[in-house]
């Protein structure tokens, strides 16, 4: 697949090396990856995602996937934690393992000069992690420490309160890090089971960018991932939104309240998604010219920053936003937010806002592809969302195709001012 058009909107006379080609590479063993070759710098960025993530936990083992993921780099095959780290550092390779709500991410970057050794080491970490009891206990203490910190962090209190109200017993309703009780009770067998259920071939998405050819990448995928179990644990069901309108205040001794708000969102594959995306950018994009930043920060000085986000999880679609404001100003800020939410729902946006938002979104899109690491990360994200390989070329056309009529119609559907729920953590006055 050749993406000659990607940057064409921005500049016509580009140096040849600015062309980005996305290739689809399928390994002999049947694992597919997207690849952007760039041989300017002698290293490769590799991104692997395993769908499922912490939502694969059963309720009594909440936190197992998170703890397991943190333990992947704590020893593999005949290497204990220290030996593994020394081997990795001797190669100057970077590996990171991250447990998300919907997926486990593996990010690796390695030099061309010792690529084979780096891949062999990563293969051992993914396929033969040791999960030594002393490592389990040590990392568990770190997780427990973070959980205790979370109990005193206003932003985390807010998001956990919101999630619990919105999703109840569904995995989305609680922290994937687990609770003090569940994490304390996790055994090594639980970690082994979490590994087997989470890192499986039926849920892999891969992208690479940098100094590697398609011919080199194929066999590498089989070496790295081919021996993982064919199937893993079942994915969670659809999450029902159960959050009624209202305001929930969580008392916390702090001079400034942390606010999280939202209601249901719009699916990523909905025909109206791009219109909704433009509307949100005009209202709650983090930019200074977005309506919320303008009204709440620039005109009234009520906050340092405010934004809203269309959040598309695998099993739920939400429309969320957040800000912080001093306890004596938070009520006014919430009122301004409610007014803006109602206004855009009733009136939509102006012709000028539509035009400038489109220009911003289409113009800034190519700026995201600014390095091997970001490119690999974007390409794996596209695959996870089920987007076609030419999406990077067609995406700006989809933005530009949104009409004034579209945004006004979708605004009425998207914004539900009466449905908003606010979680306020702090000691707000006048609420």
């Amino acid at each position: 697949m050749i993406l000659r058009a990607l940057f064409a909107v921005l500049a016509l006379s580009l140096p040849a090396q600015a062309e980005m080609q996305i290739q689809s590479v399928t390994s002999p063993g049947g694992i597919t990856a997207w690849l952007v070759e760039d041989h300017n710098i002698p290293f490769t960025a590799l991104e692997i995602q395993f769908k499922g993530g912490t939502s694969l936990d059963t309720p009594d083992k909440r936190g197992a996937v998170n703890l397991m993921t943190a333990l992947i780099e704590e020893g593999a095959a005949d290497m204990d934690s220290r030996a593994f780290a020394e081997a990795r550092d001797s190669l100057a390779a970077n590996f990171s393992f991250d447990a998300g709500t919907d997926s486990i991410g593996v990010s690796a970057s390695f030099l061309t000069e010792n690529r084979d050794s780096a891949i062999a080491l990563l293969q051992q970490a993914l396929n033969a992690p040791r999960f030594d009891q002393d490592a389990v206990d040590r990392v568990r203490e770190q997780v427990l420490s973070m959980l205790r910190s979370d109990e005193k962090d206003p932003d985390t209190i807010g998001s956990q309160t919101f999630d619990a109200l919105a999703f109840g017993d569904h995995p989305y309703g609680s922290s994937g890090d687990g609770t003090l009780a569940t994490v304390a009770a996790l055994t090594r067998d639980d970690i082994l089971a979490a590994h087997k259920g989470a890192l499986a071939r039926d849920r892999i998405f891969v992208a690479a960018a940098g100094d590697i050819t398609a011919a080199e990448l194929g066999p590498l995928l089989d070496q790295l991932l081919g021996d993982l179990p064919a199937t893993g644990a079942p994915l969670p069901p659809r999450a029902d939104w159960r959050l009624p309108p209202g305001v929930t205040v969580k008392d916390f001794p702090t001079p400034q309240s942390s606010v999280l708000f939202g209601h249901v969102g719009i699916p990523r594959d909905d025909p109206d998604f791009f219109a909704a995306f433009i509307l949100n950018e005009a209202l709650g994009g983090g930019r200074f010219t977005a309506r919320l930043m303008s009204e709440v920060r620039e005109k009234r000085g009520l906050t340092y920053g405010i934004g809203s986000y269309l959040v598309n999880m695998d099993q739920a679609d939400m429309y969320l936003g957040q800000f912080s404001a001093s306890n004596d100003k938070v009520a006014e800020a919430i009122q301004v937010l409610r007014d803006e939410w109602a206004k855009i729902g009733a009136e939509g946006i102006t012709e000028e806002e539509l035009a400038t938002t489109k220009t911003y979104l289409t113009g800034s899109y190519p700026l995201r592809f600014d390095g091997n690491g970001p490119i690999a990360s974007i390409l794996v994200g596209m695959q996870m969302q089920g987007l076609p390989i030419d999406y990077a070329v067609t995406r700006n056309d989809k933005i530009n195709a949104v009409t004034m009529e579209d945004v006004q119609r979708v605004a009425r559907r998207l914004y539900l001012p009466e449905a908003l729920h606010f979680v306020v953590v702090g000691q707000p006055t006048g609420l």
């Binding site: 100057a92 000085g301 340092y304 220009t359 690491g373």
Partner: protein
């Protein structure tokens, strides 16, 4: 005068750097503006950064926060740009912009398609000398910075402890004043404060322009002369000779007890030398020392002793950043296991340091760090924004291009003896501030 650095010097550097350095060109305009061009033609994108050689450590006494406040106010408007329209113009071209302030510099940047450099240069040059501020702009934005302080500092016991510790660490120099400002002084910052500071310090002869990305030096030079060239220099720029620290004679100890603290910890900082132009050896040794002591959760000296050999801590780290004009700090932090007191863990931490001073570094660990330094040079080329930032920051604290280009070599050249000499010198408790972050209920019960 165009002074090509990359092409001409690449041969000389080729032996020192396994991978030829990115092409970097520097020149200076007649009005004193220094310009650095970093070429990266992989994508048609450019970043413009203007770095003013003024920051929170250059503020007049009693006006803390004015450097950062002015940074906010620079987005307000000029004769040509309508109030609050600056960012909107950049965004309408598909670009992003922002700014940041530290003790030694204030910097503004835009990332945008390379063919829009002309526009953002015109805008950045315009607001270097032509800012317009109303009383209303100032009053509203002052509320924003107070909210910023509330969000970043006042709601975070850890941030409050760090602020108190810096104030105690620097007994005479200005680094003890928080960049965001002390609240009672921020509340008084006025339009006149901002404008007098702006008029004196925002000028071509007090700035470095860094342009990085898909550009050619000749094009940049022509655009810089067109937009920045006509600007008048300031006659208020003086050497940044700030009050220096006296010999520090006694350790300072601070206990901050806050009911919002969940995980108590011990935080120690020592006064430490910074990188100096033409002399980075000691700073390089301290950088490697921090990496050895606390750079890795699996292999560092502190982690091995406190988290592996014994399980008395859940987290430990050591850090040092010598890119500053005046003395920097070397920091240690240890979060104890739940049943271990701060008193005990502090003693353990000091025992680890004492042992290190007796035994010295593991040669294999030092070799691994050298390997990573070499590789970091390769990985760094993938991130032109970070490169631009490295050049801008280093030049803003008085380092030279040669210092920047030789920093990785300085790191690779650090020997065991260098590390031990730097460690012996820096680990002097008379120069230290020791902070305990804890909770009131934990103080009530004697340990």
């Amino acid at each position: 005068m165009l002074r090509p650095f990359g092409q001409g010097a690449a041969l000389a550097l080729a032996l020192a750097l396994p991978v030829a350095a990115e092409p970097v060109t520097t020149f200076t305009l007649d009005n004193g503006l220094s310009v650095v061009v970093i070429e990266d033609h992989r994508a048609p994108v450019v970043v413009q950064m203007i770095w003013y050689r003024v920051g929170a450590a250059d503020e007049p006494p009693g006006h803390s926060g004015i450097a950062h406040f002015l940074e906010h106010l620079l987005f307000k408007g000029t004769e040509k740009i309508a109030p609050n329209a600056f960012s909107g113009i950049v965004e309408a071209q598909g670009g992003d912009d922002n700014a940041f302030t530290s003790w030694d510099y204030t910097a503004y940047f835009q990332r945008i398609a390379a063919d829009r450099l002309d526009l953002v240069m015109e805008m950045e040059a315009d607001r270097m000398r032509n800012l317009r501020l109303t009383e209303e702009d100032v009053a509203t934005e002052r509320q924003v910075i107070l909210e910023e302080r509330a969000q970043r500092t006042d709601t975070s016991p850890g941030a409050l402890l760090s602020e108190q510790m810096r104030a105690a660490q620097f007994q005479n120099g200005p680094y003890g004043i928080p960049v965001i400002g002390w609240r009672h002084e921020m509340e008084q910052l006025s339009r006149e404060d901002a404008l007098s500071y702006y008029t004196r310090f925002y000028a071509p002869n007090n700035a470095t322009l860094v342009i990085a990305g898909d550009v050619l030096p000749d094009e940049v030079k022509a655009l810089a002369e067109k937009h920045y060239g006509p600007l008048a220099p300031s006659d208020g720029i003086t050497p940044r000779d700030r009050p220096q620290e006296p010999p520090q004679l006694a350790e300072r100890r601070i206990t901050l007890a806050d009911e919002r603290v969940s995980e108590p910890y011990v935080f120690r900082t020592y006064l430490a030398p910074e990188r100096d132009p033409g002399n980075q050896k000691e700073a390089a040794a301290l950088t490697v020392l921090a990496e050895l002591l606390g750079g890795s959760g699996q292999t560092s000296v502190l982690a091995r002793a406190l988290q592996f050999d014994r399980q008395v801590a859940v987290y430990s780290s050591a850090f040092y950043d010598g890119t500053s004009i005046d003395d920097a700090t070397f920091g240690l932090i240890v979060v104890p296991a739940p049943d271990v007191s701060l008193e005990t863990i502090e003693a353990d931490m000091d025992r680890v340091i004492d042992d290190f001073l007796k035994t010295g570094p593991d040669p294999a660990a030092l070799e691994r760090i050298r390997t990573q330094v070499r590789a970091a040079d390769i990985y760094a080329r993938d991130d032109v924004n970070a490169l631009a930032r490295r050049y801008g920051e280093s030049l803003s604290v008085g380092l030279t291009i040669a210092d920047i280009e030789s920093w990785d070599d300085a790191l690779s050249a650090v020997t065991e003896a260098d590390i031990m000499a730097a460690a012996e010198k820096v680990f002097d408790r008379r120069n230290a501030v020791t902070g305990w972050l804890t909770r009131p209920d934990l103080l009530e019960t004697p340990e």
